[in-house]
């Protein structure tokens, strides 16, 4: 029983970081209808900036703020300078350009910082509170939960309660109609990219301290897990991606704990197949939009 409790909490804290990053993927999907494959690499780039500032000034929170602001800027710049000029008649063009950007960013980071791991500090203790000899969650885990919850609520408010959110969704779903209705579609896309990259940077700052550290490829594996989480939950739903993240985290933890770490990817694949065969739009999808 102790083991089960321990693995549950380990899975939850792991799942929370997946959820954080999955939220960034959901945001960009809702705002632009694309999956940004460069999201992970962009988050790493801004985390490098953040941790450079942190180590230069000694202030974690200054670096944290720098990372998020850099993220917002990088997202806006990427949309304005690159993505805007991508031909969107095939959604794959955007995917390929994003993958190209991944290589540029990773090569660039390697040139500037080298392909070595650098420490990614956590703002709070990572020592877990222990109850009855079983390690549960650390202060940092609680911080991650709080941040994920806050982002989730803010996103829900943005998309359902504000005019900007509505315009963003309109611009993403039906750009031509939105334009006719007076929505500044280009601006909305830029805003969507900026916000998504900002959330991605936040997620990067939450993920990296729990992993091997800063490295140009540090988010590759996280991206896969987070994308899986977002798909399990449904890309249109922020709560869905949080649920997806936690489910993926728990499955990986249980399977690693009871069956061995090697089996975990197989379990994740099985989870995806089961969920998607039952609900092709993810757990939190709202039924089919169109049936024939």
């Amino acid at each position: 029983m102790d083991r089960f409790v321990y693995l549950t909490f380990d899975g939850l804290s792991r799942g929370a970081v997946f959820a954080a990053f999955a939220l960034a993927l959901v945001l960009i999907w809702r705002a632009t209808r694309i999956v940004n494959f460069a999201q992970g690499a962009m988050a790493v780039a801004t985390a490098y900036a953040g941790f450079s500032v942190s180590s230069a000034t000694g202030s974690y929170w200054l670096g944290f703020a720098v990372a998020i602001v850099t993220g917002l800027a990088l997202g806006a710049v990427t949309e304005r300078v690159v993505m805007r000029f991508v031909d969107h008649s095939s959604h794959l063009n955007g995917v390929v350009v994003a993958l190209g950007l991944v290589l540029v960013i990773q090569g660039g980071l390697g040139m500037i910082y080298g392909n070595e791991y650098r420490p990614a500090a956590a703002p709070f203790s990572r020592d877990a509170f222990t109850v009855g000899g079983v390690a549960l969650l650390s202060r940092f885990d609680l911080f991650v939960f709080a941040a994920v919850g806050a982002v989730c609520v803010l996103l829900a408010l943005l998309f359902t309660r504000t005019a900007v959110g509505l315009r963003m969704r309109a611009a993403a779903f039906a750009p031509d109609v939105a334009r006719l209705l007076g929505v500044h579609v280009g601006g909305m896309l830029t805003l969507g990219w900026a916000l998504a990259a900002g959330v991605g940077s936040l997620a990067g700052m939450l993920v990296l301290p729990t992993e091997l550290g800063l490295h140009p490829n540090a988010m590759d594996v996280v991206f896969v897990s987070a994308f899986t989480a977002a798909v399990v939950g449904g890309l249109d739903s922020a709560p869905g991606s949080v649920a997806g993240g936690l489910v993926v985290g728990l499955i990986v933890s249980y399977v690693s704990g009871y069956l061995g770490a090697t089996v975990a990817p197989i379990a994740v694949l099985v989870l995806l197949v089961v969920v998607l065969l039952g609900r092709p739009g993810g757990l939190f999808s709202r039924g089919k939009a169109r049936t024939v």
Binding site: D2, R3, Y6, L7, D10, S13, R14, Q106, G107, G110, G114, N115, E116, Y117, R118, P119, A120, A121, R126, D127, A128, T130, A135, S138, T210, E211, L212, G213, H215, P216, N217, D220, V221, V252, S253, S256, G257, G260, A261, T262, A264, P265
Partner: protein
């Protein structure tokens, strides 16, 4: 026309590149001229596996430049061509073929990685290319009958496991010993070494590099009541294991394989949590980069400052320079009239005195590298050797103390012809 274009492009590309193949040789040996020896290697310079390892080949190159500046080997300068394979075996295939077939290198030196290098063994054998000092502790390189041109360098993981196991048996007697290893032959061979000395371990866990979380594994070891945890981990996962153990309040004695115990790398990765390495026991067969009193370190530092400035000087640098030193020794021993068979014969003759704490085992029927290690411990934030060095084999042979003092480097830093 539009379908012909790609084909035309193949032709032009091929034609444009085909005349670049060269390395013309006067002696009839590929990659060797009167003034140059061309040698190649494959290393991960980019990608997740590049951490630490990407510093090895530039260090070797720096030592070659040091030797070249003093006139080279038998009047020939060594050119070292480093190819990035990102630790992907398919890319290794490509770059090694480019080195051998296109650049016509004389030999492949210090190719890194077990899965990557395993795939090119047959190709190198077919083309009779010397394959020296493979950078991995796998036992596959020591098969003189099957791969006569391939030689190892690192202590193999089983020998290391036996030596670290002996330490546990003597110094941590009666404690509950557990094991966490990478889920490949690194982990398996290391565990085999430990179990040869200690018998079955109390609990064993494995990890995969694609899942950077060892929470479940560490939790299991804690629950099993382990007092000593032996790690067969790469540096990133050593740091992760130490961090995770601290997180859940688990404080065993860690005993770590040499490949994952470089204190510089670990401290950098752990950052503010670097103190977690205190007390960590490991072993190595080369002098430690931080031991500035060691004459070999002084020599390597000198070459490093001169020819690899700006890069960090750590154990990876020492490793790369030691490989280069041994290669220069081998070339010298092979004589003025350099041939591939001559080089292989010279390495098999053995008897090299270098920076190693234990002798290299090279002979006609032993192509493995170093045969032992000395234990080290992190104390007061510094990693230092203690006790004597040990030698053993990867089978059931005894673990013996090796007490001869290591050789001193030559005054000018360049090995003399024997």
């Amino acid at each position: 026309m539009k379908r012909l274009l790609p084909l035309l492009m193949v032709v032009t590309l091929a034609a444009a590149c085909s005349d670049s193949g060269g390395g013309g040789s006067s002696s009839g040996t590929p990659g060797v001229t009167d003034s140059e020896i061309l040698v190649g290697t494959h290393m991960p310079l980019t990608g997740p596996a590049a951490a630490g390892y990407s510093k090895i080949a530039p260090a070797s190159k720096a030592y070659f430049d040091f030797v070249n500046a003093a006139g080279g080997v038998h009047g020939r300068k060594i050119t070292y061509k480093i190819m990035d394979d990102t630790y992907n075996p398919a890319t290794t295939q490509q770059v090694v073929r480019e080195l051998v077939l296109q650049d016509k290198v004389f030999a492949i030196l210090n190719g890194l990685g077990t899965p990557t290098h395993t795939g090119v063994l047959d190709f190198l054998k077919t083309n009779r290319v010397p394959d020296l000092f493979v950078a991995s502790g796998s036992r596959s390189w020591d098969q003189p009958d099957k791969y006569p041109g391939t030689f190892g360098f690192n202590v193999d993981y089983t020998v290391e496991g036996k030596i670290l196991g002996t330490y546990i048996k003597n110094e941590q007697a009666g404690k509950k010993v557990c094991f966490l290893g990478q889920d490949d032959d690194f982990g398996r061979d290391a565990l085999a070494g430990y179990e040869k000395i200690l018998g079955p371990v109390a609990a064993k866990q494995s990890y995969v590099t694609s899942n950077p979380n060892v929470g479940p594994q560490m939790g299991a070891l804690k629950q099993a009541g382990c007092q000593v945890v032996a790690l067969a981990t790469v540096p990133g996962f050593t740091a992760l294991s130490l961090g995770t153990a601290a997180k859940i309040g688990f404080k065993p004695q860690f005993v770590v394989s040499q490949v994952g115990a470089d204190l510089t790398t670990l401290s950098k990765q752990l950052g503010p949590a670097a103190a977690l390495t205190e007390g960590l026991v490991s072993a190595n067969y080369l002098p430690l980069a931080t031991d500035t009193a060691n004459p070999w370190i002084q020599l390597f530092k000198k070459a490093h400052d001169q020819y690899n400035p700006g890069a960090e000087f750590d154990n990876n640098t020492v490793y790369g320079m030691s490989v280069a030193y041994l290669f220069v020794q081998s070339l010298l021993a092979a004589g003025q009239d350099l041939t591939r068979d001559g080089l292989i014969g010279a390495v098999e003759k053995g008897g090299f005195q270098g920076p190693g704490l234990v002798p290299l085992r090279f002979s006609a029927d032993d192509h493995s590298g170093y045969g032992g290690e000395q234990l080290s411990r992190v104390q007061g934030g510094k990693q230092a050797y203690f006790g004597t060095a040990y030698e053993t084999d990867s089978e059931d042979g005894p673990v013996n103390a090796y007490t001869s003092a290591p050789a001193a480097p030559p005054a000018n830093g360049i090995p003399a012809a024997s």
